[in-house]
């Protein structure tokens, strides 16, 4: 039996319109052979969680560049737990201060990638840490 591909939801929570990073990382994941679903902009945490469950993804990548990451990432984590889907791993990326990264890790965000991270580093991390559920 061949193992199915890792499925990733790249998501933009909240009102922030900076999608350059999210779209680049979605392409990089696709080029690396993962199955990628991109939510598009302006998604509420509820919309992201239901998309993740419906699409049966293994990983959610949340992108935030306008400062609302604490509230929004927190909501996604809580809603996933409510739905009993907290085996879906979450990573984050964007403009996120060091002090917040520590807090986000404690919330259960597995890794946070900040500006300047090579695409390869992120792709390698996924290869190493995410297996199809």
């Amino acid at each position: 039996m061949t193992e199915r591909k890792v499925r990733i939801l790249v998501a933009k929570p909240g009102l922030d319109g900076h999608d350059r990073g999210a779209r680049i990382i979605a392409r990089a994941f696709r080029d690396a052979g993962f199955e990628v679903i991109y939510t598009g902009l302006h998604q509420t945490p509820d919309q992201i969680v239901s998309a993740a469950i419906q699409e049966d993804v293994d990983l959610i990548g949340l992108s935030s560049l306008a400062g609302a990451h604490m509230h929004l990432f927190n909501r996604v984590v809580a809603l996933l737990k409510d739905q009993g889907a907290d085996d879906i791993m979450i990573i984050g990326g964007g403009i996120i201060p060091e002090a917040d990264i520590v807090k986000l890790r404690n919330l259960g965000i597995r890794e946070v990638f900040t500006p300047g991270t090579p695409l390869e580093t992120i792709v390698d991390w996924v290869h190493k840490n995410v297996k199809p559920r």
Binding site: V10, L15, R20, A22, I24, A28, R75, P118
Partner: protein
């Protein structure tokens, strides 16, 4: 009239150049060039040397001319910075209206000559702070404005008949502008005395910045409403700032920034003409907004080419008669995307180089980014250094003493010509698609930019493109930077204030105003008079925007990558 070099002279230069190239090749055998390809940051090849042969067909009168004269390549004003410096306009918005007002008063006391307002995400998207979609976002990247009350606090103590105010607002631009007019008139400043700019450029939102409200067609209609109203009642206001800045920030090349921006401008002119407006009545109030990225000469060439292409389009395509209609006046902001989170103090240097390019390119107004802007809203200290950067350029360096000083440089004229040609090709392609609205529906500019930004990221990863501190000269020490933090209690305070406003306003009046606004939308009447009335009655931003959403529908991101 014709080329500036004699044919025989050019032939001699070309033959001498061949000799030089042969000499160079011999030298390169033992000491090769550092890289195989030299290109601009946009990927355009750059030659080792430019000579008169590169601009042998350059026609001074037709392509360059004089400052303040067609085709305005050398600048839109005859005296340029010898007459008046550019407006030093620092963008500011810090969560609450009170705090932003304090920053405005401070910047004005430090010699700033124009105000520029950054709004928070909910305001930018047309939601009140209390809406469920806005939770957690109050004040995160600018000031929260829900009602006229906030606007009154924001501009308290500022002389609105003397300062000009820029508001970076797009889908709800008519609403915020209405609030500003209502606020000023309450203070006794009539609308015809108000000067400033609303960004109000929805095409580039669909292309790049991505704050949306209604679909493209009704968005265009609202923009034309503001252009029409401004022409008649607020003559000193720039009702649109046609923006390449965000296109570039989204990852475009310099040529794409230039071409898509001018194609957007063409679309707005066509839409206003379709409304029956006279081109010379509105074109003088169209303004532009460009990025100043780090590739110095390419940027200068971009601004010079922009003026030349626009003047030609206005004169020959749209038959404008007034001289002012032909001017491409522009604001510039240094490139946020060129700044690095790593070793943030280096950003001061990047910004200075970019600001210099903007000044040498003849900008009318400039925002210089603060070095910490890559992390958060700038602290006062960082914003002051950024303002001082402009003041040093203006007062110390001497670059303002002579107009368009790089004109005639073989390289600059050559790059300007190449930039013009490449942009014209894009504009032609978009015209062939049926104009920018159609091109956007086909996702064309969006995907061109996505391709360019992905390519650039790959180049960074491969280190064929260098960013100091990111992929070369990396240090691992933490550099302490004071980061501005949004007060967490702000959201609740803002919600409470808006509630208080709602409790004390004349509810019946508000409802009547909103109803009239809905009718104006449906009946194709200009929405501005209704909006000003509604704003004066303390209708909230979202109440007014919800009328638009109800009538025109909501645009959703196609989510392509």
């Amino acid at each position: 009239m014709g080329a500036i070099f004699k044919e025989a002279e050019v032939a001699k230069i070309e033959s001498d150049q061949k000799a030089w190239e042969k000499h160079l090749q011999e030298k390169l055998v033992s000491a090769p060039e550092r890289k195989e390809n030299y290109t601009t940051i946009s990927g355009t090849p750059v030659k080792a040397l430019y000579t008169p042969a590169d601009i042998s067909d350059f026609n001074y009168a037709a392509q360059s001319g004089f400052p303040g004269m067609y085709p305005y390549t050398r600048g839109v004003q005859a005296s340029m910075y010898r007459g008046r410096l550019w407006t030093m306009r620092m963008f500011a918005g810090l969560g609450s209206a009170e705090e932003t007002n304090r920053r405005f008063l401070y910047l004005v006391s430090q010699g700033q000559t124009g105000l520029s307002t950054a709004f928070d995400m909910p305001t930018l998207m047309g939601y009140d702070t209390g809406d469920f979609r806005a939770r957690g976002e109050c004040g995160t990247c600018g000031v929260a404005i829900d009602t006229l009350k906030d606007m009154e606090i924001l501009f308290d103590g500022l002389a609105l008949d003397q300062l000009t105010t820029s508001m970076t607002i797009n889908p709800p631009a008519p609403v915020l502008w209405a609030m500003y007019i209502a606020m000023a008139e309450k203070k006794g400043v009539p609308r015809e005395k108000l000067g400033g700019t609303i960004q109000n450029d929805m095409l580039k939102e669909f292309i790049a910045q991505k704050t949306f409200m209604c679909p493209p067609e009704p968005s265009m209609r609202l923009i034309v409403d503001t252009i029409e109203f401004g022409t008649k009642e607020v003559p000193r206001w720039n009702t649109i700032s046609i923006s390449g800045y965000h296109i570039r920030e989204a990852g475009s090349t310099a040529v794409q920034e230039l071409a898509f921006t001018l194609a957007d401008g063409i679309a707005y002119v066509e839409a206003a003409l379709e409304r029956g407006l006279d081109v010379d009545a509105f074109a003088p109030r169209l303004s532009f907004f460009f990025n100043a990225h780090i590739d110095f000469f390419e940027e200068i060439a971009k601004y010079r080419a922009a003026r030349r292409i626009w003047a030609d389009a206005m004169k020959n395509r749209f038959k404008a008669k007034s001289e002012r209609s032909l001017w491409l006046r522009f604001h510039t902001q240094t490139a946020g995307c060129s700044l690095t989170a790593q070793q943030p103090f280096n950003n001061v240097v990047r910004t200075a180089v970019q600001a210099l390019a903007a000044v040498l390119g003849g900008t009318q107004s400039l925002h210089t980014n603060a070095f910490d802007e890559v992390h958060a809203i700038p602290t006062e200290e960082a914003a002051t250094i950024a303002l001082r950067t402009q003041q040093i350029l203006a007062e110390e360096t001497g670059v303002v003493s002579s107009i368009d000083p790089l004109a005639g440089s073989y390289m600059i004229e050559s790059l300007t010509g190449e930039m013009e040609e490449a942009a014209r090709e894009y504009i032609k392609k978009i015209d062939d698609m049926g104009g920018m609205l159609k091109a956007i529906e086909r996702n064309y500019p969006q995907m061109e930019i996505a391709d360019a930004s992905y390519k650039f990221q790959r180049e960074l990863d491969e280190k064929s493109r260098i960013m100091v501190g990111v992929n070369k000269y990396v240090t691992h020490e933490e550099i302490p930077v004071d980061i501005y933090h949004v007060d967490e209690a702000l959201e609740e305070r803002q919600i409470a204030r808006t509630q208080k406003v709602k409790n004390s306003r004349n509810q019946k009046k508000v409802e009547e105003c909103l109803e009239r606004l809905g009718e104006a939308c449906v009946n194709n009447e200009n929405v501005m008079p209704c909006l000003i009335e509604a704003a004066a009655a303390y209708a909230t931003e979202q109440e007014m925007c919800d009328v638009f959403r109800g009538v025109f529908g909501i645009y959703r991101d196609p989510g392509t990558f």
